[in-house]
Structures are given as C-alpha cells and as structure tokens.
C-alpha cells in the first residue's frame, strides 16, 4: 500500500532522471524534458512526503520508522526524525537536487536552449547517481517482519527545534551548489565565443546555496552551544569541516561572480570554484556516511555505501576536473586590473578562502592518510586549526573592510587613504571604548576586536554615506561578519568560569553577579524526568536579574541521561549554568560561565543570512529581466 507507493515513487524518480538525461542530449525535445523535470520534482516530493507520513503514523513495519521513531515522540520530532537518519536524509538530498533542477529548467528562453539542456543533462546525471545510491544501498522503504510494537526511540539530545531545522537548511546549501556545478560543466562544454551569460544564471543559485549554508551551519553551532553544556560551538569535527569547506569556496565563488559580471575577469576561478565546491559537498557526504571515521555526526557504518559514493565522486570529479583542465584556457582573459582594486581585493579573498579550505581539508584527511601509510593514528584537533586557519584568515578580514570601497580596475592609493580615514578613526575609537569597558589586553583579544570594529565601522559608514552605490545585501552581510568576529573574540578571550560545589542557600560571585542556589526540585517532562537546580541571579545592587534552572534529565525510553544548561542571554553577555552531580549533604557541583558578547555570534550569523536574503531578492530580479 503506502510503502509500495513509496518504492514506486523512487523508481519513478529513477526513470524520470534517465528520461531527462537522455532527452537533454538532444536539442529540441523541450516538451519531453519538461515532463521529466516536473515528473522528477513530483515523484521525489512524493517519496519524501510518504516517508514523513509513515513516521507520523508510526508504521513500524517500515525498518526506517522502527529504527528511528517512537510513538511518544512529539509530532515535530517525528517529522524531523525523517531526515535525522541516513536513508531519510538521502530523500532530502534528492528533493533539493530536483528543486534546483526545476529552477534550472525555468531558465529556458529562445536563446539558451542548447546551453540549458546541457546543464540539465549534468544535473540529471547527478540526480541519477544519488537515486541509484538510495535504491541500492539506502532504501528508506525497506520493510521489517515481524512488525514490532514500537520503535527504538530516538536520541533525546536530537529532539530540539534548532537541530530539527538545521539539516534541511544545510542541504539547500551544499546540494544547491550542484546547480553551479552543472552550469560550470555546461559552460566548459559550450563554445566560449557564444556569449552565453552563464555567470548571470549562476549567481542566484550560488547566492541561495551560500545563504542557506550559512544559516544551516550557524544553527548547528547555536544548538551545540546551548545543548552540549560547556559553551563550545565549533569543534573542528570532520563533519563540521565538511560543511565549512563548501562554504569557504562558495564565499569565494560568490565574490568572483560579481567580478565576472562587471569586468569579465576571474572567469576560470568561477568555473573551477563551482566544480570544487560541489565536489567537496559530495566528499562531505562520503565522510559522514561511509564509516571511514567516527564522529558525533556520522550515520551508521557501512563501507559498501562508502565505496559507491567514492566511485561516484571519482567519476564526477575526474570528468569535471579534466574538462576544466582542457577547456579553461578559453576563459582566461587579459583584462587588466591592479592589485589595489576591487578585483584585486576579491582575488586576494579568493586565494585566502582557498588556502583556508585546503588547510581544513588537509587537517581533516591527514589522520586518514597517516593511518593508510603508517598504521599509526594521530589526531588533528582544535589547536592545529587555531594555529593555521586564524593567521591566514586575518589578512582576509583586513581586506574585507576596505574591499567594497575600492574602485574597479585601479585605485589611487592616496585617494583610498582619504576614503578610509574616517573608518580608521572610528575603528580606533570603538576599540579604545571597548577596551575601557572590558579591560583585557591580550594580543589575540585586542587584534580580534580591532578587526571586528574595522569591518563594522567600514560598513556602518557605507550604510550611512553611500547607500545608493552599494547593495544593501552586501553591506548587511559584511556587517554581520563584523558582529560575528566581535562575538567570537569576546566570548573566547573574555570568558569567565567558576566550578564549585554549592550547598543550598549558598551563593557565589562571578563578574559582577551574585548567584544564589535556592533549592533542588523534581520536574517531569513529556518523555523525561529531571532533577532541577533553582538559582537566583542578583546584580551588584541586589536586584534580581533572573532565575536559572539547569536540569539533569533521564529519558526512560532510550535510557539516556542529559544535562540541560540554563542560560540567560542579553546583548552584553550570557550567564550559563550547568548542574553536576551531588546530594543534600555534600552539596552539588555547579559550573557557571560568564560569556561576554556571545549573542553577537548568532546575531552576526543571522545578519549575514539576512544580507544573503536581500541579495537573493536583487538577483532574482536580474535573472527575470534576462529570461
């Protein structure tokens, strides 16, 4: 019945993708291609909705529902549980591929028939690859017999709103880069003299992908911050790196597209970056699903899946890179631009983003390389990335402040100095003001704050003075980066921590706050029972600021314990409390953090996202004009 329908839709998707691939090789079968594109969209959507339905009604005759769901799961998490597992998330991959496929199809006009058909042929090949993978190794509609009475529940840590929405957003991000890949390959396969505005087509897709990738990564980090209990939000985990690398290249890609559009330079960069960004997305998928390494993010270990994805990556990557190697020379051009120019700044940014990406890639796969060649195991953790990535990224931030103000082609250095004098002044003033409040003078701290204010003052200046000449989206996004750096620097350098054992009615001071441990209570939740610590926070004048209630929860169905931090947030700082073990006699272990300006990390990320959305709106208008 429903499950058979589910399998049917998967096979329909398979046939539609072959159909699209075949018909897009020929020129004039627009009607057939249209059927294929729309058919793909509908069948993949149906597959997904059917799986959602099966989870929501708790049909445990389906293996995927049994392994990942439970009747007591709240509705929202039954739905998000669909993409929280490997097989279900493949359906999400496929939907995003077919949605972007549809929007590529919408680009058709009488002038670009051949080109768009070529693009659709590449896109359908990618879709085909993922559908075959799903049907062969990861079919979510597999049945189980005898039918169990209930499911295996689901990890309670993952029942969270931010975590629920984070995968779909990430997927729109790195799966969306497939469109850029397809457009790039189609361009390389076309005659360069034909003057197809391939870069205009690419921009909205890259913009959309980049925007959602940004917010997807940010939500994952936000979740880690408030859920995992020690205030960390980025761990350089291989799977986190797998989402960061496409983001870095997509950022470079985005900026380069602007240069191609305005000055026709950096075309080869764009073509290569589009290919590499999507390839990294696929490699990222490989790392998560193949069982080659373990991580909090990995799905179940299965080498056969890994071999398939690797083969597919080799095919896709080998073909596209060799194509680029042979055809890219038609896209080199000799338009002059000075180093001190907008193009120059973007070139510098490209190089730095690529270097950071290469370094992160190196750090991520190096343990695997060592293991293959020496039978030894090493770890590449946070200290490595901090010492390599941060120094490299600093010049990028410096350039980013001044980039938007630079002229195209060549900038007069003296004129430039004049232009940025007010921002330099503002930066210094803001930094001095900041340091007078937060009296911490470490090198890293001061540098980080300086750079943050450098970005912020430059962009506030742009907002105020030259709003008409610069895109609101760009200024917003850049401003967001400034906020982000401010948040990151302050919360790491200025953090205060207190770990103590407290008895009831005792108090402790941190920064300028007084924290009183009032009592322990017992709390019952929908699928857990908890011990809750009740704390009252007072300021210096003994006014109560808030009540914080960290909990230690027990989920009987999965036999899990979790610790829920209690956080009070405002624009200036977070107060973060975690309750440890203890008893009435000896007291309780309590861990308190004072995290200054940490909210600006999330504000910054969201502002970047907002900037992306604003730019997307502008871009879609442009593409509509051409179509």
């Amino acid at each position: 019945m429903v499950v058979t329908l589910g399998n049917l839709t998967l096979w329909l998707s398979f046939f539609f993708s072959i159909f699209q691939f075949y018909n897009s090789q020929k020129k004039n079968n627009l009607k057939l291609i249209s059927i294929a594109v729309k058919g793909l969209l509908i069948s993949s959507l149906l597959s997904f909705l059917i799986l959602v339905y099966l989870h929501v009604v708790s049909d445990f005759s389906v293996l995927n529902v049994f392994e990942n769901s439970h009747t007591t799961k709240p509705f929202l998490y039954k739905v998000s549980g669909v993409w929280g597992n490997h097989e279900g998330s493949m359906l999400l991959w496929i939907i995003v591929l077919t949605i972007f496929n549809y929007f590529i199809y919408k680009l058709y006009n009488n002038k670009n028939l051949v080109f768009i058909s070529k693009t659709l042929s590449v896109q359908s090949f990618i879709i085909l690859g993922f559908i075959i993978f799903t049907i062969l190794t990861s079919n979510p509609f597999e049945k189980i017999f005898p039918v169990p009475a209930n499911g295996l529940g689901f990890n309670p840590i993952l029942q969270d709103p931010a975590l629920a929405i984070h995968p779909p957003l990430l997927y729109i991000g790195y799966v969306g880069l497939s469109a850029a890949f397809s457009l790039s390959v189609a361009t390389l396969n076309s005659n360069a003299k034909q003057e197809i505005p391939w870069f205009i087509y690419m921009k909205p897709f890259v913009m959309a992908a980049w925007t959602f990738l940004t917010i997807g990564i940010a939500l994952g980090s936000l979740w880690a911050y408030y859920e995992l209990g020690w205030g960390g939000w980025w761990f350089w985990d291989p799977v986190e790196n797998a989402s960061f690398m496409p983001w870095l290249l997509a950022t470079a890609l985005l900026h380069s597209l602007i240069v191609v559009e305005k000055r026709k330079s950096l075309q080869a960069w764009v073509l290569l970056l589009s290919i590499l960004a999507f390839l990294l997305s696929v490699v990222g998928t490989f790392l998560v699903r193949s069982g080659i390494l373990t991580s909090v993010h990995t799905f179940a270990l299965d080498p056969s899946r890994g071999i398939y994805i690797l083969a597919f990556t080799a095919l896709l990557g080998g073909y596209s890179l060799i194509l680029f190697a042979s055809k890219s020379k038609f896209y080199f051009n000799n338009n002059f631009f000075a180093f001190f120019s907008k193009e120059g700044a973007i070139l510098v940014n490209n190089i730095i983003m690529t270097i950071v990406c290469a370094t992160v890639f190196l750090g991520t796969i190096y343990p695997l390389l060592i293991e293959a060649f020496t039978n030894n195991k090493i770890s590449v953790g946070e200290p490595y990335y901090n010492s390599t990535v941060i120094p490299i990224i600093l010049p990028a931030i410096l350039v980013m402040g001044v980039g938007p103000i630079l002229s195209w082609g060549k900038e007069n250095k003296f004129l430039l100095l004049k232009k940025i004098l007010p921002s330099i002044l503002m930066t210094v003033l803001m930094t001095i003001f900041f340091l007078s409040i937060y009296r911490s003078y470490t090198f890293v701290g001061v540098l980080g704050v300086l750079l943050a204010f450098w970005i912020i003052s430059n962009n506030l200046y742009l907002f105020y003075i030259k709003r008409i000449y610069h895109s609101v989206g760009m200024v917003t996004a850049h401003l967001g980066v400034g906020f982000l750096i401010l948040g990151i620097t302050s919360s790491s350098v200025l953090q205060e921590e207190k770990i103590i054992r407290m008895n009831i009615d005792h108090n402790v001071e941190i920064n300028k706050y007084n924290i009183v441990f009032k009592r322990i209570s017992e709390v019952k939740g929908p699928n857990y029972i908890a011990i809750q610590g009740n704390f009252e926070i007072y300021d210096k004048k003994n006014n109560i600021i808030t009540k914080l209630k960290p909990q230690n929860r027990f989920y009987p169905i999965t036999n899990n314990f979790t610790s829920e931090a209690s956080i009070h947030t405002n624009l200036f700082r977070d107060l973060y409390i975690v309750l440890g073990e203890g008893n009435q006699n000896d007291g309780w272990v309590v861990r308190i953090y004072y995290n200054p300006l940490v909210a600006w990390i999330w504000i910054g990320a969201f502002t970047i996202f907002l900037g992306g959305i604003l730019s997307m709106r502008d871009n879609f208008k442009k593409v509509k004009k051409i179509s």
């Binding site: 890994g306 990557g317 190697a325």
Partner: protein
C-alpha cells in the same frame, strides 16, 4: 604552463580518493586505537593480589612463558560476555592467563569469579586504574598477548569474540 598546473589538482584529487578507497576495503575499525606498546616490554608493576596475601609482581609473572593479560571488572557487561573465551584460553589452550581487576570492589570480584569460573593463574588489583593507564588501556575489557620474553605482541581492545579468539590462537602459534 597554466595547463600543467591545473592537471596537478586533478591527479591529487584522484590519489586522495584512492587512499580513501583503500581504507574502506581493508578490515579496520575507525573507533579502535592501535596499542603504542606493541613490541615493547610489558610495563612492570607491583600490586596486591586478589586471591592471596602475597604481592603480585609482574616481573615474576610475565617473564617465562607466553601469557595473556586480561583487564576486567564485575561492572563491565562485555567482560562477562567474553569470560567464556578467557576460560578457554586457560583450559583448552593451556595458556597462562593473568587477570587485572580494574577499578572494582575486590569482594564483588571474588564472588563474580566463583560464579563464572576463574581462569586466571593470578589476579592483580588495580583499584585506581593506574596499572591500566601504564598499559595504555582506554576502556575495558582489554586483552594483551605477551611472549616468553615479556614483550607485548598484541592488544585487543573490546570484547573477545569467536573471530578474535581465533586470531589470538593463530598469533600464539606464530610466536611459538
């Protein structure tokens, strides 16, 4: 020149994929750590013995024949599961097996061994886990194979299964 330069990333890319492919097809567990003490002398220690009043001297126990050293505890479920194989090492293969009782309650351990059978010729008490740290143990059960010169030849982290039991026996034959 630029063309040559561009071919390099392609070759690099495909080579990396080849390495990843190799790692997938070999028999490997990504969560397991190889022991850093392989082919080195077994760390020496002195401890209390579980079942008698004499001190346990590793120097005395580990330098004459092929020995198996097994870290276990009563609170460890996989230790209980694998115990049948530990017994088989001693009874069927006639190999000397030493037990190290890790972070456990000695009285509970004695009862546990009475109930499940005691294959160990001697048992050292590692109350605080210091011996375990010296042996590079990161999670019990862990089982070491020591040759007659006191050198660690093999370490298995985790429960001994039929497959691992066979592997141990093969290795023992090789050492002999």
């Amino acid at each position: 020149m630029k063309n040559q330069l561009i071919k390099i990333p392609t070759i690099l890319f495909l080579s990396i994929l080849l390495v990843l492919f190799y790692l997938l097809v070999i028999d490997r567990d990504p969560s397991k750590l190889p022991s850093n003490l392989l082919n080195k002398n077994a760390p020496e220690f002195v401890a209390d013995s579980l079942l008698d009043n004499e001190k346990f001297l590793s120097k005395k126990e580990l330098n004459n024949n092929i020995t198996i050293v097994n870290f276990f505890a009563t609170w460890c479920a996989p230790c209980r599961e694998e115990h049948v194989y530990i017994k088989r090492f001693s009874s069927e293969k006639k190999i000397k097996v030493i037990g190290i009782n890790y972070k456990d309650n000695p009285e509970k351990a004695i009862i546990w061994l009475k109930k499940l059978g005691n294959p160990y010729s001697n048992i050292a008490i590692d109350k605080k886990g210091k011996i375990a740290i010296d042996w590079g143990v990161y999670g019990i059960p862990e089982t070491f194979l020591i040759n007659s010169s006191g050198i660690i030849k093999y370490r298995h982290a985790g429960q001994i299964t039929k497959k691992i039991y066979k592997k141990f026996n093969l290795l023992i034959k090789e050492i002999n």
